[in-house]
């Protein structure tokens, strides 16, 4: 875990209202694994840091992908290159992509695309064939930066690719990885109990000390999304107790 003041160096739009920020954060870029996240702070900014999956790594830079869904994300997107963002990370426990499976499907809804480029990189390094399934409400909300051996688009309104949810478009594979609104992940869990899913919760600290990020478990009790998670075996979560109405979920 590192705490770095990173220079925000660039921003690009990858779907309607969806942007990628690049931030200089060498030690984090070096050590981050797919599914891990960074907790970002800036000044003047909100009191608490904001958690974001690391989207890509480019040399000394990490990238995060986001939309403006509230005060913090709006401020991040209003920043100019050259401004400083404090980066705490890498945090949490990412996807397990150790060699073994021969094929993997990366399923994402909306901003759930965030951890997938790193997952694709690691899966390929482990010798897997990567199918990328990405869904959104409509064509112009699809993140254009697809990164799979095979790519399947899904839109609720049928405006591009498969007409329906990303989950409904998933082909057979040895391994399923998913990220998106908790509602979507609950549906993944019912199809593929062994899928690895990256969940979202409100977070206080991101480092395991506040117990704010409770993930209700099937076996009873709670885990910390920031420490034991955010990636879980889908069937291990008690989905009925995980809130589905976080802002991110609304906008996805």
């Amino acid at each position: 875990m590192f705490l770095l003041d990173g220079n925000m160096v660039a921003r690009r739009e990858v779907a309607r209202g969806m942007f990628v920020l690049s931030v200089d954060a060498p030690q984090i870029a070096d050590s981050v694994r797919a599914g891990q996240f960074v907790n970002l702070g800036w000044s003047p900014g909100p009191l608490l840091r904001r958690p974001f999956s690391v989207y890509r790594v480019d040399g000394d830079r990490i990238e995060v992908i986001l939309k403006a869904v509230g005060v913090g994300t709006a401020q991040l997107l209003a920043m100019m290159p050259g401004e400083t963002i404090s980066c705490l990370g890498p945090l949490g426990h990412g996807f397990d992509l150790s060699p073994g499976p021969t094929s993997v499907v990366l399923v994402s809804g909306g901003l759930g695309v965030a951890p997938m480029p790193l997952a694709a990189r690691e899966a390929r390094a482990a010798g897997m064939h990567v199918t990328w399934v990405h869904g959104a409400r409509t064509a112009d909300e699809l993140c254009t930066e697809a990164d799979g051996d095979e790519v399947i688009w899904a839109t609720d309104d049928g405006s591009q690719g498969f007409a329906g949810t990303a989950v409904a478009a998933v082909p057979d594979a040895d391994l399923v990885l998913a990220c998106g609104p908790n509602r979507m992940l609950a549906s993944v869990a019912s199809h593929w109990p062994d899928a690895q899913v990256a969940v979202e919760t409100y977070m206080g600290c991101g480092t395991g000390v506040c117990l704010g990020c409770a993930v209700p478990l099937e076996r009873g009790g709670y885990d910390r999304a920031c420490k034991e998670g955010p990636v879980y075996r889908a069937a291990d979560i008690d989905w009925s107790m995980l809130p589905a109405h976080l802002p991110y979920a609304i906008s996805a």
Partner: protein, 304 residues
Amino acid sequence: MTVEMSVEVGGLRLRGPVVAASGTFGYGTEVPLLERRALGAMVSKGIFLRPREGTPPPRIVETPSGMLNAIGLQGPGVEALIRDYAPQWAGWDFPVLVNINGETAAEYGELAARLDGVPGIAGLEINISCPNVEQGGLYFGNDPRAAAAVTEEVRKRTDLPVWVKLTPMVTDIGVIARACEAAGADALCAINTFVGMSIDLNTQQPRLSFRTGGLSGPAIRPLAVHLAHQAARAVNIPVVGIGGIFRADDALEFLIAGCAAVQVGTATFANPRAIAEVNDGIAAFLASKGLPSLSDLHRYLPRD
């Protein structure tokens, strides 16, 4: 100029006045970035006799310059704490206090007896912001008699230093402070979080699953400085100031207002180096004023 930062607080000598607050520092094993040299002491996450699952999510919500939390005192229970954490603490170079919680005065007493003499445990902090099941759920901390009863019970069952952590939502904190002092507290900690609520306009329900939560962070600092000041004026034992300390200047407000030391909580979430920065900033302030030690800082304690 090196400044003498050590301070004696309720039976413990701390190398510096900055203490990690309960519930914001886990069991001290999680935050790797912190420069531990700056820790005067640490208070562990609140513990009950038995394991507790805590409340369902959402457990936290951000508010202007603050946050509400309703963790529900999730924890492994006292036996697991003694087994898993106390041995680690025994090797550390700063004292660890355990924040104890109960539903009856007897439960607090049992906890105190169980923790007494365990290597690695340097003291107890009594969290009296717990509902008293024998009094229909009223907080112990809201009633001077109940607060004194808990303190007395704990005092009887342990030789460890006993700090009592006061609740802010009372009509006169001085009355509670004096009751705890008379019942044998070695120090008082002021204050715990304020009860607050935030409503989600979409669901038209509280945002927290527990409905209400405790408000912490800079939002409450002016209230906390006032209450810590009132407590410090009321008693002769040391008072540890808590509430919204993010920077050294904030801590200095509490110290000048009459506190012997301070606790830093929520700040650690935003800045894992907060405790070190607060500690070093206090030393720098004292040096800039030419004060050789923390004890030379002017305390503002008029007793009018």
